[in-house]
């Protein structure tokens, strides 16, 4: 039992460390928040947001609130980082 737990722990650790080294932190940019592309954001918003739910009015939230709301949806909808930034920009410029 103890042996099995150790093996599992090692598997997870090796996986995490390997992936973290293979995939460098792309977010170490000095400028924050990073601006996206408005037009691409409009397209990504139209394509992705209605896959599960009704569209939300850009005026529901402030600019800073849209950042966390869309980053939350990045995980839920499987958005890429660039799509996330584009949609944030679109929502911020539309509110």
């Amino acid at each position: 039992m103890k042996n099995s737990k150790s093996k599992n722990f090692i598997k997870i650790l090796v996986t995490v460390v390997t992936l973290m080294f293979l995939m460098p932190l792309a977010n170490a940019e000095d400028t924050w928040p990073v601006k996206g592309n408005f037009a691409n954001g409009a397209k990504a918003w139209a394509e992705n947001c209605t896959r599960c739910h009704n569209t939300r009015d850009p005026r529901e939230l402030r600019d800073d609130q849209w950042i966390t709301a869309v980053y939350h949806m990045r995980l839920r909808a499987g958005l890429t980082g660039q799509e996330t930034r584009d949609i944030v920009t679109f929502m911020q410029m539309s509110n």
Binding site: M1, S4, K5, N8, K11, I12, V16, L19, M20, M23, P24, L25, A26, N27, A28, E29, W32, P33, V34, E47, N48, T50, R51, C52, H53, N54, T55, R56, D57, R59, E60, R62, D63, D64, Q65, I67, T68, A69, Y71, H72, R74, L75, R76, A77, G78, L79, T80, G81, Q82, E83, T84, R85, N95
Partner: protein, 400 residues
């Protein structure tokens, strides 16, 4: 004589007019000048106000400068009324589920959803639906660690919030401790990758896995509440692969998990553990929109293998599926949703088929009033139409 008199009178009048005309003209000119001055002052005042308005519109009140750390509160809640065949109608609070987001730049986010519910005796129960720390490793990979919604299937992780769900209830078999895994505690990598005309989204995870609930020598349920301890010491690994085709507005997903699970009761102290047995979960799902019609469906199952040393030695399987079609009649902000599903368990009396219809009024896209009816039946060879607990439901759901 008369003509001369008239002529003199006219001449006299004209002379007077000529004498006083300069004075009258001077007075009129002064009046006009004063009027012009007043108008100019009013124009200057208006210009000043316009300038002020322009300045204030450049900084509207809803704009907000961002800092490196952000805090955001979201969530959803629902209240309603249920009138079933087996009980009298009751008003009730469904749940209040605030979601907390704490984000530092685009590097890390902590997100947690709490679930407040009022039980039948009026007491408030609180649970952590999920709590994760998410590290955005790069544009395509996010590390998620903590308690997260199970990536197996689509309903539990994406569609269960009441303002998203088009029916007042979850599909039969997709509730807690039924066919669909609910939560997991562990580590997960997830993200999205563009692949030409399609988009791929994925999630892979390893976690503590479920506990098996035994009753009367049989496995009664697979508990997947996101256990904070691994009772059998054996992890469960799984994931979901999804493909989205934007041109067709079509979502396809396949998910699965495998590992070991054992009979044990997390609520009993001291906990006693059995030897573990095989555990598997699998699911497929789809969703699409065409001509305003929202069509989706999902199949999911969980299986546990035999374990001769167990108090419940036999294998068991739980499965459920549903299909739903919905259409919004835009001019009247009304949506009609129809769902059909089935739930199969090792115990036949708990099997169900369910037909549900709901008419929803969209007060706003995130504020939805639902009036629904559920027809539940026990599939039975002798009496194939045995109805159980059919009910009418009213729900007011708000996503914020």
């Amino acid at each position: 004589m008369k003509f001369n008199k008239m002529f003199r009178y006219l001449l006299y009048t004209l002379s007077l007019a000529v004498l006083f005309l300069p004075a009258i003209s001077a007075s009129a000119a002064e009046t006009v000048a004063q009027s012009n001055k007043s108008l100019q002052q009013q124009i200057d005042e208006l210009n000043r106000k316009i300038d002020e308005a322009k300045e204030s519109s450049a900084k509207p009140v809803h704009k907000h400068e961002s800092s490196d750390s952000l805090i955001h509160l979201a969530g959803y809640a629902d209240v309603g009324y249920v009138n079933g065949e087996s009980n009298d109608g009751s008003f009730g609070v469904g749940s209040f589920s605030p979601i907390f987001h704490y984000q530092y730049k685009d590097l890390v986010m902590l997100e947690s959803e709490l679930e407040f519910e009022i039980n039948e005796t009026g007491e408030t129960e609180v649970a952590i639906e999920y709590l994760t720390v998410d590290i955005f490793l790069n544009d395509y990979v996010t590390l998620v660690m903590g308690k997260f919604l199970s990536p197996i299937g689509q309903f539990r992780q994406n569609l269960h919030p009441s303002w998203i769900n088009k029916q007042p209830t979850a599909p039969v078999g997709f509730g807690h401790d039924q066919a669909a895994p609910v939560s997991e505690v562990g580590i997960q990598f997830r993200g999205g990758v563009p692949a030409g005309p399609v988009k791929i989204n994925y999630a892979v995870y390893g976690g503590n896995g479920p506990a098996l609930e035994e009753n009367g020598g049989e496995i009664e349920a697979i508990e997947t509440p996101g256990l904070n301890v691994d009772g059998d010491g054996k992890k469960v690994y799984g994931g979901r692969l999804g493909v989205y085709i934007p041109a067709l507005r079509l979502d396809l997903g396949a998910s699965g998990a495998a590992g070991r699970a054992a009979v044990w009761d997390p609520s009993v102290d001291p906990v006693t553990y059995e030897r573990s047995r095989d555990y598997q979960a699998a699911g497929v799902d789809f969703g699409t929109k065409f001509f305003g019609i929202d069509l989706r469906g999902e199949y999911i199952k969980q299986t546990v293998g035999k374990q001769a040393a167990s108090v419940a030695p036999e294998k068991a399987e739980w499965s459920a599926w549903y299909s739903q079609v919905a259409y919004v009649i835009s001019p009247i902000n009304t949506e009609i949703a129809l769902r059909y599903g089935a739930y199969n368990t090792p115990e036949r009396t708990t099997n169900r088929t369910q037909t549900a219809i709901s008419v929803n009024y969209l007060f706003a896209n995130n504020v939805i009033g639902k009036v629904g009816y559920e027809n539940n039946e026990i599939p039975n060879e002798l009496n194939p139409k045995q109805r159980v607990d059919n009910r009418m439901l009213v729900q007011l759901a708000y996503g914020f």
